[in-house]
């Protein structure tokens, strides 16, 4: 009996030992208090916002890869990750770091977090280090946005963060299956100016529904996602482009000529857009299951050939349409834009500021942040292929393998405003043999162009990747380029401010109200005049206060 219980206690001990031995396998990150390494390198602890698909080669990590090694080599620093996380999880880590009072030396934050950090004096003023260290190209890049990103990062004349940028992405396009148009012998754009009217779009949708060129047996006209309007040009399956025909800019705060602020969703143009949508819904041109069909379901409509029309940005072919081509090797898309009666395309000014890089208050080497900015968004960006291979062979290899940008220790995007148009000119120059691929400075474009050429030579055999790149970078960008060259854009001035108190409190409810009421109007549950009721409800439930607060904040910024 006694030996038995001893045995059991032994067993317990063995189990405990075993478990501690197992536990030793998980490594622990080091974040001691030291600021320089033994060999005198400056330590930089960075909060890393990483992607979920880094495609890092074997052995490399977010903390130790070609980019971090290049930065360590060039700037005499050692990069350590205070934390790594993705998307929402990253925001949680930032919140935990702020509330536990243990900020990393540098991290990326959004507008809200930046304001919090400034209000609580937790971050370093970067005005002087930016002025002294930033390269001319970096300053020019900001200047291409009229320095608006820098202004967004400036509080009481002090530059408190290094802002990222968002390149021009207007307009919202209408993607239509070109092979179906040819099969049905439809010409919708007789002038060849790639501008179409609502009637022309209606005609195409009707023809697609009647003839079912996808042989699906159950064709659907134009699918829309239930949120109906995007707040930027990235929205897919939205009615932004339809409202834009009537100069309605839903979900945008617009600055009127007298300086007052209005909300685009409550404008007359949006009402007219909804009227068209309602008409189309009655005629059956809009997906009868609109409102209940999820994003994935709409994607499957496209993939199995039930529909061949999609509204959205230039880059849907890159990540969305590829399954269409995998199912149907002959599938091709054409991109058009909906224009108003005068042939103009009404577009809103987009938010030009991305996320912000901040430096902890009291960090001894804030200049390293600016130097990293120079390295990644000037030196590495502006190198031709041969130079790159020469100077940063490891990085050149990364670019070839398509390693994700989030492996850069400093992952804010900082590109000139007209970036896509410049890239388009480069591609055209190569296609016209005025330039060689190696001379293109943007590595991404260099990667894409071979696939594009392959697709243009043998469309049937080309990989889907080439197909996608051809559609986004030739079909999509050429439309943007053409509209810019012909000055078709009619820009609407918009306001971008931090969340105001009312927005924080009531914003989500107002968006919900808007989306639900719009669905009711489109599907005919409520008549079009209900729109006026919606506008009243919106104003009374906090919209009015929101607009006042935005006006106030704009006045403060002046």
């Amino acid at each position: 009996m006694k030996t038995d219980s001893i045995k059991r206690i032994k067993l317990l001990l063995v189990l405990l030992l075993l478990t501690s031995a197992l536990a030793a396998c998980v490594q622990k990150s080091s974040n001691g208090g030291e600021t320089t390494t033994e060999d005198g390198k400056i330590i930089v602890n960075i909060g890393r916002s990483v992607g979920s698909n880094p495609k890092l080669p074997e052995g490399d990590t977010f903390e130790d890869n070609a980019y971090t090694r290049a930065a360590e080599e060039e700037l005499d620093i050692e990069i350590r990750n205070a934390f790594e996380a993705d998307g929402e999880d990253y925001s949680r880590q930032v919140a935990l770091a702020i509330s536990s009072g243990d900020l990393p030396d540098m991290m990326i934050v959004d507008r809200e977090e930046l304001k919090d950090l400034v209000d609580n004096d937790l971050i370093e003023d970067l005005s002087d280090v930016f002025e002294e260290n930033a390269s001319d190209y970096i300053k020019e890049t900001y200047a291409s946005y009229d320095n608006r990103p820098l202004e967004d990062a400036t509080f009481e004349d002090n530059l408190m963060a290094l802002p990222g940028t968002e390149s021009l992405a207007a307009p919202q396009m209408v993607w239509i299956r070109e092979d179906w148009l040819e099969e049905l012998d439809l010409t919708i754009d007789e002038e060849g100016d790639r501008l179409i009217t609502l009637d022309e779009l209606e005609e195409v949708a009707e023809a697609f529904m009647e003839n079912d060129p996808g042989d699906s047996g159950n064709p659907v006209g134009i699918p829309f996602d239930s949120y109906l309007n995007g707040a930027d040009y990235g929205g897919v399956f939205t009615m932004n482009s339809i409202a834009a025909v009537f100069d309605g800019q839903p979900k945008k705060y617009l600055i009127e000529e007298d300086g007052s602020v209005t909300y685009g969703s409550t404008s007359e143009g949006t009402k007219q857009g909804l009227e068209v949508m309602n008409e189309w819904f009655d005629k059956g041109i809009i997906d009868p299951q609109f409102g209940t069909r999820s994003f994935d379901d709409i994607m499957s409509l496209l993939t199995n050939g039930q529909t061949g029309i999609a509204t959205g940005p230039w880059h849907i072919p890159d990540w969305g349409f590829s399954t269409v081509r995998e199912m149907d090797n002959d599938a091709r898309f054409a991109a058009y834009v909906l224009a108003d009666d005068d042939g103009n395309v009404n577009v809103f000014e987009q938010n030009t500021t991305g996320r912000f890089m901040v430096v902890r208050e009291g960090y001894e080497h804030p200049e390293k942040a600016v130097q990293m900015l120079n390295l990644f968004y000037d030196v590495m960006l502006n190198k031709e292929e041969a130079d790159m291979e020469n100077k940063f062979p490891e990085v050149a290899e990364y670019l070839e393998q398509g390693v994700d940008d989030s492996t850069k220790p400093f992952n804010i995007v900082l590109l000139p405003n007209q970036k896509y148009l410049d890239d388009y000119q480069d591609i055209q120059a190569v296609l016209n043999e005025e330039m060689t691929v190696g001379e293109i400075t943007d590595s991404q474009v260099r990667q894409n162009i071979n696939g594009i050429i392959e697709y243009m030579e043998t469309p049937e055999d080309a990989l889907t990747n080439g197909w996608s790149n051809y559609h986004s970078r030739i079909v999509g960008w050429s439309l943007m380029n053409k509209l810019t060259e012909e000055a078709r854009f009619n820009w609407v001035e918009t306001a971008y401010v931090n969340n105001t108190p009312t927005m924080e409190q009531k914003g989500a409810n107002l968006i919900k109200l808007e989306e639900e009421d719009f669905i009711k109007i489109v599907t005919g549950v409520e008549p079009i005049d209900y729109f006026d009721t919606f506008v009243d409800k919106w104003k009374n439930q906090g919209g009015k206060e929101m607009l006042d607060e935005i006006e106030e904040e704009l006045a403060e910024q002046e």
Binding site: R8, A85, R92, S300, T303
Partner: protein, 297 residues
């Protein structure tokens, strides 16, 4: 029991079998659909045409998982975690439940301990205070942070405690007469008759630890330390939400590569296999160790 052979019993049996089998199928079919999706080609899945058989059979999703070093690293972290947590949980649950199952006469301060436990079960410190405690204990980024905060699952303690209370007093008295020490009574009498209850809490512990992603998300600062469910969760991003919030084209493209239903289905299948394997082993304990017949009143 007497088996009838009349027509009505046959019909009754048929109806019962029919109901049981259809309920079984209702549970099984969604899982089977996931398996079929995981073996189909990406475009077939995107076209929503996969039902119960894979379409354009492809093992590409599994190949991608096999090549993903982090997936396996996380997988083994989770295995370690489950082993550690299971051992710790069972030891601590039993050692805690046994004294608490005694009456107040035998264990004077029982009610004080009981109140403390129940208080701790109902109220917790909240996310940020807990985070700070764990940070100051230097547990961040160690495997212990996955195990220690949940080392004593109060709910299971109460479950086992109540089970111990229900064990007939005469069993313990008989052991005392035979000269057994309290530890011997626990291991020789209580544990053998409580195997079904212990198997249940073991299952809770295994499933709970295997499926928990939140702990890893909060306390692990490096992705290389993520347990499997946290890793899978970090890969599972709703692309529709990203589109709405205006993500860059490159990021969307990158995510679309790993973020398709085909690959997600394969991840679900791979990460469910360990749990499926454990069930049959635990099942035998659910039928043995029953107290019925051990005492004759």
């Amino acid at each position: 029991m007497i088996q009838g052979n009349s027509l009505s019993t046959k019909i009754g049996k048929f109806i019962i079998y029919f109901i049981v089998i259809s309920l079984g199928l209702i549970c099984l079919l969604p899982l089977w659909n996931i398996v079929a999706i995981s073996f189909s080609s990406g475009s077939a899945v995107a076209a929503n045409i996969v039902g119960l058989t894979p379409i354009n059979f492809s093992t590409k999703a599994y190949e991608m998982i096999m090549e993903d070093a982090q997936f396996w690293r996380s997988f083994f972290i989770s295995v370690q975690r489950v082993v550690l947590a299971l051992a710790l949980n069972l030891i601590l649950i039993v050692l805690m439940a046994y004294p608490l199952s005694k009456t107040k006469r035998e264990f004077k301060s029982r009610n004080i301990y009981m109140n403390i436990i129940i208080f701790a079960m109902l109220f917790s410190g909240g996310l940020i205070p807990t985070y700070i405690v764990i940070k100051n204990l230097n547990l961040l980024d160690t495997i212990w942070v996955l195990v220690l905060p949940g080392a004593v699952p109060i709910f299971s303690v109460i479950l086992i405690m109540n089970f111990f209370v229900g064990v007939p007093k005469s069993l313990e008295e008989a052991a005392i007469i035979d000269g057994a020490s309290p530890l011997q009574i626990l291991f020789k009498v209580y544990i053998p008759v409580s195997l079904p209850a212990l198997a249940t809490v073991a299952l809770f512990s295994i499933v709970g630890n295997w499926n928990d992603f939140m702990t890893g998300l909060i306390y692990m600062s490096q992705i290389s330390n993520y347990p499997i469910m946290t890793y899978i969760q970090s890969l599972t991003i709703d692309i529709a939400e990203l589109v709405k919030s205006g993500t860059s084209s490159e990021a969307l493209q990158n995510i679309a590569e790993v973020q398709n239903r085909n690959l997600n289905a394969a991840k679900i299948v791979v990460s469910t296999i360990p749990l499926l394997l454990i069930y049959p082993f635990l099942q035998k304990y659910f039928v043995t160790g029953i107290v019925v017949g051990s005492v004759k009143e």
